[in-house]
Symmetry: C2
Amino acid sequence: MSSTPGMPAPVSGALGYTIKLAQHALRLQVDDAIRPLGITAPQFAVLVAVDLDPGISNAALARAAFVTPQSMQGIVANLERDGLLRRNADPLHGRILRSELTRSGRSVLGKAHAAVAEIEARMTNSLKRVEIEQLSLLLQRCIDNLLRP
Amino acid sequence: MSSTPGMPAPVSGALGYTIKLAQHALRLQVDDAIRPLGITAPQFAVLVAVDLDPGISNAALARAAFVTPQSMQGIVANLERDGLLRRNADPLHGRILRSELTRSGRSVLGKAHAAVAEIEARMTNSLKRVEIEQLSLLLQRCIDNLLRP
DNA sequence: CTTGACATATCAGGCCCCTGATATAATATA
DNA sequence: TATATTATATCAGGGGCCTGATATGTCAAG
């Protein structure tokens, strides 16, 4: 390094940078926790969504995860390849492929749920209930501000 | 879709999900703002870091951005290919390649800085100064909780 | 001086995400 | 009915991130 070894913040004091750091730290923890199960964070999110809405289409999954159908297709293809998910043609709609969890998928999902819940709990274990509520509301206002104008 | 059309949240009420949404919304806005300049959000972050610390090594850049040296190498290679950044061998250390901005890199960085600052300002334009401080502190406590035990 | 620990750069392969483009099924409209 | 629009799936290519492995340069301990 050259001048400031222990100073990683490019724009210190910026809220956007702190949000990025929080998301990054959370993502690292989740990745480590579910890697032994053989799935990634995006795959976990998809397993959750399919479990909540069995028979969901790839396009609907993409909307739920705020990604493009192309991105979702890659995740679903990998889950199908690994036997955690199954796709069958919709009898009513000739184009939709209905995704369902396999027995193996449900098993992995259960274990992942527990691991992720533990991480979320640890993240807030020094925050009072009111503070969690405050944080959630302030973040939501930021999101609204970004999506509005 | 099957049961709940307009309900995208897989684990509604979870703080981790809200953090992810905020980061995602911010990233989308930044991407849109700097795409016309021909750079991506990670590339912008690297330009900032190189501008703050001219002659920085690839490994130091990776540490600053919390990514692996391999990941950083790809970004730096693309920036070099696009003529926004230049790398020269360190005269004192036979292995380090010192990164510097080109004239073109400085020009793009200036425009990107303005665009990103505008987005950050919009994100918090309905929040009082005290609320921004609260949000930042609460997020930092979550980060600490995640990285500690 | 030799050896070993560490830092740096880089290659290979995989996952996730994007934009752009294409093909087909379902539906609305003229 | 015929056409246009919309929805869905998918191919192609690129950027950014990861783990694992490799090669070389620096430095300290023996």
